[in-house]
């Protein structure tokens, strides 16, 4: 592979970064076991593996957060030791952590100035334009969305002169539109000769963006820097999980015929956040024991659809009913057995400072009371119960949700929404965001379990394969309209794709 070095403009074959035999132990855990890995200029190298596979550890070794027990790191062919992140940056290695690390009270410019001395807002604006990163340099970080914060961090990394850009699970906290925007930035970095390392759990993201992929499992390299095009999804999954993950049983009892719809929208329109109509005259029914998938280009009204179903957004016209009762608000919906997995948990469901157990209390239709107080002992008991029933391995109950990684936040949201045994309607937006393959599978099983128990289930996903494998019918949204509904069995991807883009059936 011959590409242009961004600094010298010379053609080069030498990897920007290469590690050989990197080993690192944390107590009993062998987090990295003789790992080989390299990144060339002008390539995107995906690093994949289940939670705990050692991906973050490898990246932190490269970035000087941890020291390897043994093994070598070289940058552009010269052996180096990376003793600290500052040193890593001086070697041209930059990293965006899974948990973003900007100082919220400072502006973007001030944050970047912490790493790049004497930087001015003007220079930041120029660099932002150059790399296609939409960031307002004057904005205070605490006022930015997660996607904007991430762009600010990437900008900071680029402005420190890094040519190796490491992104640890950047998509697990992003809304789907933001993923598209991020990938556009990554494409640009590749085209200008940067070496990009990106961690993800989503094979479709690997296929969309990566030139090569390395699979880690239990700290060891299972597939080292291979072309993902040479492997099927099943092969990659097996490499990651260590066993074949059988596809979901395709034979499922059909939803009972003729039962009255649980969720019914009749001619429903609704305004979006910005005050423009985002849901347009949608008529849709979900029956008990039925799972309806919602497909569509991000931002086609999926969010508004979920919100009207949960009573979170009033319909500007039309009627929304759940089990025959008109939906009037979130409290009534919750009491009526509606559970939702929010599209943007950090913005809409996570309360800074509160623990997992406290967040569980918020999802209960009736919070147990003991005299004037919440009966926390009972909430803890319920949390354990939900956790056991759901089996998604949440972090410990006393942990603060806002401090968890994206995938762990998602487990909390899922446990809360899917653990309830008496739900009549489950509305799940992008349920498998940030989850590894095995957990994603468990989540899909849980959605199907709710369906089998007679609940109506509405699932929004950007992953068509996921929708086809779990849905009974797929509703396709385009520009706020319901462009069509097709049976999932034997669904034609081309047809769905053209409906998504507004084509006729």
């Amino acid at each position: 592979m011959t590409l242009t070095d961004p600094r010298t403009g010379a053609k080069t074959d030498i990897p920007l970064l290469a590690v050989r035999g990197l080993t690192r132990r944390f107590g009993e855990v062998l987090a990295n076991d003789a790992v080989d890995f390299d990144v060339r200029p002008g390539e995107v190298h995906a690093l994949v593996g289940e939670n705990g596979a050692g991906k973050s550890t490898l990246l932190k070794l490269v970035y000087g957060v941890h020291r390897p027990d043994s093994g070598d790191i070289s940058v552009e062919g010269s052996p180096v030791t990376v003793g600290s992140p500052a040193q890593a940056r001086s070697l041209g290695i930059g990293m965006v952590f899974q948990d973003l690390r900007l100082v919220p009270a400072l502006s973007v410019t001030e944050n970047i100035a912490l790493a790049v001395r004497g930087v001015k807002a003007r220079m930041i604006a120029d660099a932002a334009a150059e790399h296609g990163l939409a960031v307002d340099p004057q904005a205070r970080v605490s006022h930015l969305s997660i996607g904007e914060r991430q762009r600010a961090e990437i900008l900071k990394v680029l402005m420190t002169g890094s040519r190796i850009v490491i992104l640890d699970e950047p998509t697990s906290v992003l809304a789907p539109q933001e993923v598209t925007a991020l990938f556009a930035v990554v494409e640009r970095l590749r085209a200008t000769g940067y070496g990009v390392v990106i961690v993800t759990h989503k094979l479709n993201e690997v296929r969309a963006i990566a030139d090569r992929v390395t699979v880690l499992r239990g700290g060891r390299v299972i597939l080292g820097g291979v072309d993902p095009g040479n492997y099927t999804d099943a092969e990659l999954v097996e490499a990651m999980v260590g066993r074949a993950v059988p596809s979901l049983p395709s034979e499922r009892p059909a939803p009972p015929d003729g039962a009255a719809a649980v969720l019914a929208l009749r001619g429903v329109s609704a305004y979006g956040e910005s005050g423009v109509i985002r849901l347009k005259d949608v008529t849709l029914e979900v029956r008990p024991g039925e799972l309806v998938g919602v497909a569509g280009v991000a931002g086609s009204g999926q969010r508004e659809l979920c919100e009207v179903a949960c009573g979170l957004r009033p319909a500007s016209s039309g009627v929304v009913t759940v089990a025959g009762v008109e939906v009037t608000g979130p409290r009534q919906a919750l009491a009526g057995g509606v559970c939702d997995v929010p599209e943007d948990p950090l913005a809409d469901a996570v309360v800074p400072g509160l623990t997992i157990v406290e967040h569980m209390a918020l999802g209960l239709p009736k919070v147990p009371r003991r005299r004037a107080n919440v009966d926390w002992a009972d909430v803890r008991r319920i949390t354990t119960e939900l956790e056991e029933r759901v089996g998604l391995q949440m972090a410990a109950g006393h942990r603060k949700v806002a401090e968890l990684s994206g995938g762990n936040v998602q487990r909390v949201m899922l446990t809360r929404a899917l653990g309830r045994g008496d739900s009549v309607l489950v509305v799940a937006a992008y349920p498998s965001r940030g989850l590894d393959i095995a957990t994603t599978r468990r989540t899909q099983e849980l959605l199907l379990e709710r369906r089998a128990a007679g609940a109506a289930v509405l699932v929004v996903s950007e992953d068509l394969d996921e929708l086809i494998s779990i849905s009974d019918r797929i509703a396709v949204m385009h520009d706020g309209h319901l462009a069509g509904i097709v049976p999932a069995r034997g669904a034609d991807r081309q047809e769905i794709g053209s409906l998504m883009l507004g084509g006729a059936r």
Binding site: F97, R101, L114, A115, D348, G363, A372, V374
Partner: protein, 350 residues
Amino acid sequence: MTTQLTPDRVASPLLAPKSGFGPALARWVGALAGAIAIFSILLLTKGADPIATLVDMVVSTTTGASIEQIVIKAAPLVLAAMAVVLPARAGLANVGGEGQVIIGAVAGAGVGLVVSGPAALPLMLIGGALGGALWAGLAVALRVTVGVNEAVTTLLLNYVALDVMLYLIYEPWKDANGSGQPATPPLAIEQRLPLVGGTAVHMGIVLALVAAAAVWLTLRHTSFGFRLSVVGGNPEAARRAGLPVARLLVTAMLLGGALAGLAGVIHLAGIEFKLRPGLTTNIGYIAFLAAWLARHNPLPAVAAAFMLAAITVGGDSLQLDSGLPAATVNVLMALILLAVLGWTAKRSTS
């Protein structure tokens, strides 16, 4: 090795302080020492001997009489600090303590004008609390109906409250038998707060400490307190969990106003006995400071209220001993605020 702040150090314990007692104490001591150092420089430039002055201040605040003064000053401060702390839990900025204190005193005095006998004092206290609640209620009503920021409205209402009081004491409620001073007639003996056994301290401090304990208990150990912290932490999450967000905001603010109103009545019935211009001596603002110093935690806010009360009393002695204006201590208070807020600012990693 450069000392630039790297991303990794941003996440270090230094900038994201643990809430443990040791580090908190260290931050406070550091901040106070810094403030006192700058204050000493100011004293030097004024020609005063800083060490002697500071020693004087400390000594003069530890005599028996000064301690009584401090407790008397602290009583309304504690209540008015709770008036900031409680709404803050729901994310509301109550900058209107001063106005709510004034209206509380006005309402108490109003009740005192018409009710006498043993029922007077309890009714005055209730009236004062209701008055403060009404004043805060105006601001929160605007917040939940038309979305006006309560920090602005509560602040503006402070000036309105002062005008209301001045109008009353210059016109309808003016003491006809007074020496022509704008003031209401003094409260009757049974309308005044009794003293705590054999001291000059009135019962207001007991009321204040009980109220502070109640606020602590409410915020920490009740379901209402939990709901307030959800609303304060993420209102959208609260709404989605089906919490009645507007009602919680209104309740928190009304309770806050009532506490400030109570501060006004105990100040009136405990030591002032009549409404007069300059009645409140900035109780509301100093209490706001105390609440901020304590980062809106009730028990530290009590401690901060006592500390600020001590500084005020120290300021009075400063004036007597060194001839510096009593307002000099306002500088010290401001410095402490800046130091504590600046050096211990919580850089949470939201």
